[in-house]
Symmetry: C2
Subunit: 332 residues, 2 copies
Amino acid sequence: MGKDPNRPVILQDIAKATGYTINTVSRALKDKDDISRETCAYIQRVAREMGYVRNYLASSLRSGRTKTLAMIAGSMMNPFYAILMDLIQREAVQYGYTLFILCSQDDPETELKAVQMALSRQVDGILITPCSFESPALSLLRESHIPFVLLSRFQEGSRDDCVYCNDEEGGYLAARHLIETGHRKVAMLTHRQVVFSSRKRFTGFRQACLDAGIPEEDIGYACLQDPDEILAQLKAWIAAGFNGLFSFCDVEAWGTITLLENNGFRVPDDLHVIGFDNILGYINFTKPICSVDCHLQDEARIAIELIRNRIHDPSLPPQQVVIPVDFVSRCR
Amino acid sequence: MGKDPNRPVILQDIAKATGYTINTVSRALKDKDDISRETCAYIQRVAREMGYVRNYLASSLRSGRTKTLAMIAGSMMNPFYAILMDLIQREAVQYGYTLFILCSQDDPETELKAVQMALSRQVDGILITPCSFESPALSLLRESHIPFVLLSRFQEGSRDDCVYCNDEEGGYLAARHLIETGHRKVAMLTHRQVVFSSRKRFTGFRQACLDAGIPEEDIGYACLQDPDEILAQLKAWIAAGFNGLFSFCDVEAWGTITLLENNGFRVPDDLHVIGFDNILGYINFTKPICSVDCHLQDEARIAIELIRNRIHDPSLPPQQVVIPVDFVSRCR
DNA sequence: CCCAAAAACATTAACGATCATGTTAACGAT
DNA sequence: ATCGTTAACATGATCGTTAATGTTTTTGGG
């Protein structure tokens, strides 16, 4: 006839146990200031003893704030996103936020569903690296009037909140490093046309080459996905005397290095391959490569800062933060 | 005087628009069977047109099920966990679950907070790779009567639901591979004493060696964290004629390989290093190594299956699933 | 043609918390 | 002594949805 013994403790139980009302208990547990010191301490003690855990569903439904964020990224199999997610999670938890994770697998339809799911969950804000800027998910997001921040993505002329690194400067630094270490025929390789980042990085890359007096024909660029095509391109470059390669990112750089080594080439002797993101600042199980440090930890910190600002004041003007980069040399 | 135009559409709005009651709308949207076909279709159409998204807070509060799961793992910077998370997310979404992600940073206190947070969020179930089996988080979890599944963790004699791979068999296969490829002095190296997995893998490893007639003194084992100590141990082994190394996992194997190569050794010529987890089955940016495939995708699938079973029927006997492993050779 | 049963929808009461107001008593100032 | 103020708590409504029942209306069997 008794109640379920496994039923979680609710405010009502504490109210009954302490003789105060539910409201007073609620306020006491939130350290509101119109409860006397002793009552507050007493209620909190009893709550702790009874093993009370706040029901966020009820709390959020009433208050309108869930203290949850959603992160929507392509895939956690890419260490870049995984590391970013880890950093963001750590940052979010500092402010009492819990993080939903949704992977779009770089598929616009899945991404749209992810946004819908996040909206369904009444998240306070969304952190997203959209597949593209034509993504329907992004349109829905803009219509929904829910705070969101674009991670590592930036569209010229957009009014979305975003945080991204100085890609152009990064490309410039990358080229300058290659040039300073004696490479005079250099190229950039990217797998997927990640809008803007890729172009920006090449813009800076090219500029540094021109500034150093390298002629146009000695500045290579290719956007390829198929390993066979990539290998063919690499062979062509090497045959043409190219000896420096700037990869779009570290992950692609390692892929390229593995590809080269598996095909009898030697890195960096045949081709000096450098990357972007400086993932080695966070993990340490791969071959050391030179890279552009885009300070992911800062990006995570700022992303949370931006979303908090936006949640706090939806009328803020667009917040667009560019993170400065610097070059990390790991040459022998 | 009008209402907030950005206010999301709720059942009430649809009720008003269609002339039915809130309840009917709710039931129609859930395809319940005591609403006529036409009414159901009509309501769903209007709901879609009005851009209705279900409020999970209210829904969950009332129904008692949140359709959320929490995954608690050490860190997403470790690709092993990141990949597992990605796979689990994909699997979870198939069944309508949204995933909270919580990182414990392998710290028992943070882990405990993560569990409390998950409980606060009223998740339907928790997937966790606990720091240790003495973890207070695990105790809380057991007391809370909330469904949970241990990932890649198993404690002899425990009655927790869990899914893990056949570590002993994996170790056996690893050693057999080393032996078959001509290595007669072999060792296993592990960084952290991950309870059971590590011991089990060595048990199998050692057995395979003994079965092949390798004497005890030619079977090495070390559990070290400090890179300097690891390097010293590796040097000692190599000096003693050891030429085969079984790393606890792929990530550690790559770390070891990088360490060796940075110190003038050559892999696999000086030391053939193999790993565990077959992460290369999911990512492809690192040096190819031989590894034991523990079928992470199966683990993810089964984890979700187990948690769903447990949610559906809390009285089920403990479900403990061992995933068979096999060896993937990537020798040149 | 009556009654039982089913179909299709409505009504009411939760779920567990928080918000906006009430209420009471104590206190100091005038 | 009166009034206003504040401290400390209580009351009632509400968040948006779903579960448990009601209430009609229709249908079919004898």
